[in-house]
Symmetry: C2
Subunit: 502 residues, 2 copies
């Protein structure tokens, strides 16, 4: 049974139901599950664990690559299966529990959990749950549409549960490049000097004795939730392209640019589509996730190679991708997120990093995570891995939210994920501010002129002017710095407070 998928015959006896595998899980355990940006996640075990908890309550500490699909996070959170969760999530139900203080969530730079596990900074992994397309003759695990932290979880776990997903084509084999840095001291350089370079193996090695269960599944990944481009995201994309074209004109880049990293989501997707309509060619990506737009660029020939840790696509694009793996496998490599996001490689390659901001301030500090400074949205993800080490660090956002009641450009961000030092260019649909080489007061002038929506521009100019009168390298009026946020909290709009400033 499944000879092509379970090639080490002795492992066939480990096939069991998800409910049977669920018995391995005990209260207080730390579990590492595959899954990164909803791709390659465990499909069956979250359901089994939630069902088991309904009968007999227990709670685990769950780590993943990044976000899970299939509402798994919400399902497990609602069932009370999760005491702790890291390093990233996008689930509305889970978010509610996190913000109520009922679920301890740790969001981390996505390159770092593997390093923390290796350094024993957190709890050791008891069980790894890994979605796979096959188990090799040696018992090694061939991942599906993401690698994430799976190799690190397997390396450390006492027990491994494999979810063999029959809906994932065997042709995914060969797309992965599994490499983990060695222990310290004595660690060697990571040898990647080109996005297409392979330095590891195509499967995750494991002592077959540690595989305690194989669960057969056939559910597809949850489709991407990125929305199609709209007028504003197209304007943002056009500004990014205009900025990059200026770099080419100035001789600082060629029209092959440098490897692109593009964050996940609607704006990032739009920016990638925008690049497809530009003069740039023979592009490469060194990113953490490939979205529909990346597949579109591969098809159009703009993109010659893409390195990532996952593919998160809409249903039709995923179908095309999976039906043409022989072709895409020549142009795509999936790596552990520690490698896709590694500062060493990001800095060496000189990645152009394009990530979305929740809000940014007049000095270029960026909030990527906390609504109103307090409520977690998703997590910092890989944005910090890339922004700090990039050749160019670009953050994008629409200038307004909630129909204009929120200005996403504020006097002072209510939470800082990326400090001014890590931000080169800010872009809204209004324009872009090139902050390179500017002191804080100059940055403010550029941001107010180019990125703030006209409705909030006079108020912002007033704030900055009055702050400058008080002095300082980074002028602020601390008593007013959050007044727009407070106005929104109390009155549902930043507008009144902003208008009062003019």
């Amino acid at each position: 049974m499944f000879h092509d998928r379970i090639r080490l015959a002795s492992l066939a006896s480990k096939i069991m139901t998800a409910d049977q595998a669920g018995e391995f899980f005990q209260d207080g355990m730390t579990v590492g599950m595959s899954g990164f940006t909803r791709a390659g996640d465990s499909k069956a075990m979250p359901v089994a664990l939630a069902a088991r908890a309904a009968k007999s309550p227990f709670a685990i500490n769950l780590l993943t690559g990044a976000s899970l699909g299939n509402d798994s996070d919400g399902l497990m959170a609602s069932a009370g299966v999760l005491a702790r969760r890291s390093p990233f999530q996008v689930d509305p139900l889970m978010r509610k529990k996190i913000n109520a203080g009922e679920l301890m969530f740790c969001d981390y730079h996505l390159s770092q959990p593997a390093e923390m596990l290796r350094a024993k900074k957190g709890l050791p992994i008891d069980i790894a749950v890994i979605e796979a397309v096959a188990i090799t003759e040696c018992g090694a695990i061939v991942p599906s549409t993401s690698v994430g932290n799976s190799a690190s979880f397997v390396a450390q776990a006492k027990m491994v549960v494999v979810e063999l997903n029959l809906s994932m084509p065997l042709e995914l084999e060969g797309m992965h490049d599994i490499y983990l840095p060695g222990d310290r001291p004595g660690r060697q350089p990571i040898a990647i000097t080109d996005v297409s370079q392979r330095i590891g193996s195509t499967s995750i090695a494991v002592d077959p004795d540690r595989i305690v269960g194989i669960v057969i599944t056939d559910a597809p990944d949850s489709p991407s939730t990125a929305l199609p481009p709209d007028e504003e995201t197209n304007a943002i994309a056009a500004h990014v392209v205009r900025f990059l074209a200026g770099e080419v004109t100035a001789g600082r880049l060629t029209n092959e640019l440098l490897p692109l990293q593009v964050g996940i989501g609607t704006i990032a997707n739009a920016v990638t589509y925008g690049i497809a309509q530009s003069e740039f060619k023979n592009l490469t990506m060194y990113s953490e996730v490939l979205q529909d737009s990346a597949v579109s660029l591969l098809d159009s020939g703009h993109l010659k190679f893409a390195s990532a840790s996952s593919v998160t696509l809409s249903a039709p694009t995923m179908q095309k991708f999976l039906e043409n793996l022989d072709r895409y496998r020549q142009q795509v490599v999936l790596r552990p997120q520690e490698i896709s996001n590694h500062p060493e490689i990001v800095r060496r390659l000189g990645v152009i990093a394009i990530n979305a901001a929740l809000e940014f301030d007049i000095y270029g500090n960026v909030n990527s995570t906390h609504v109103g400074g307090t409520h977690m949205m998703n997590g910092i993800g890989g944005s910090g891995d890339f922004a700090r080490n990039a050749h160019l660090s670009i953050f994008v956002t629409k200038s307004l939210a909630k129909g204009g009641d929120i200005s996403r450009v504020v006097p002072m961000v209510s939470h800082v994920d990326h400090c001014e030092h890590d931000v080169d260019v800010l872009v809204t649909e209004c324009g872009f501010a090139d902050l390179r080489g500017l002191a804080p007061r100059e940055r403010a002038t550029a941001i107010i002129a180019n990125c703030v929506h006209a409705d909030y521009q006079p108020a912002m100019a007033s704030y900055f002017e009055r702050a400058c009168q008080r002095g300082g390298h980074t002028p602020h009026l601390l008593e007013e710095a959050f007044s727009w946020h407070l106005d929104f909290r109390q009155n549902g709009s930043m507008k009144d407070r902003a208008e009062a400033m003019v």
Copy 2:
């Protein structure tokens, strides 16, 4: 003349006075000067430039390695010589001009200016001014007590002025390891896998035709301003040692630890002395600056090798160091700051980073730069290079300042240089908070219990409790978050406001 110091005979004709060399400098030029943490800085040219500006005003854009000694920054700032300055300074007069908005200052992660120059992110260097102990047979420049950004400045400068410092012993030659990463694409890994490894040359190569002037000097470096340990810094050091000893006991470190990085200043110095009185042995440093304490550890045998970008010592320790260079040269290497602080190497080696904070908050965000959120102190320096990529990121500070009128632990920092994600352990004289693996609410509990001074503890607990009632992943009361800072600004003390919270 100076045959042992100017070994390429043709260059002897380039000897001139500082005033003569000053004629090369034109209004609007960008100048790169040697000097890092007051070590190996240009001694004569700042004086000559200030004198020239007094007669005929002109202003330049000045880059250095880090801070200059000899009051040079203040002298040039007062004379109006500087229109722009980066990436770090410690001068009181310059600070005043920066905070008045009269001098545009850009503080950068110290590993990054060289990368920015290479990427042409800023203005190109017109003139490099480099303190040297010698010029080799090939015309290459042997730096003195720091390397900083000198190699990058020389690589790019149209003209190079060498300050040959006769008070710096020739025996410094061989202590430096000059290596610069290549251009992108195609850049290779930086080969360092051990703190003592040398991968470059002992001098800075330059086409001798670009050396336009050689100025003879003999002034010593400004001595270190670090104060001797006191009761509180000793307590901080003891907590750091206790934490590290716990790591050894837990099996997460051996008693050789991993390479240490220790920031500059009084507390950092005290921590290093504290480590000398511990059970740790055969230690190594991969740091940006070596202070008296590092020399003391080399002498006592606790430290077997130290890598840095500069040596900044008190006058008596500097004398000992310079008189025993044959010995110290076997145990010390000075590298470009791009390499001493490089994320690639810091992460590979697994550095234990210990840096000072100006203030931190209950969630572990750190302010390293801005007094009251607005006024620049010195600059972020290398703290971000190390903290983000370290095996362990430790920040230290006294819990109080201004005789107790300031709590250095606050509800929310007024400026963020290091976000919660980059901070593992916080230490004050009260104790340490180990934040690894904790969610924000757990971090707050640990910080309030272990790091906040008793005078402010009830108020902080009250703030946190009331914020939690309002909810959120990272609970805050935005309308009160800066109330302690505002109280200090208005009334000269945070105490009234803190007491009113209880």
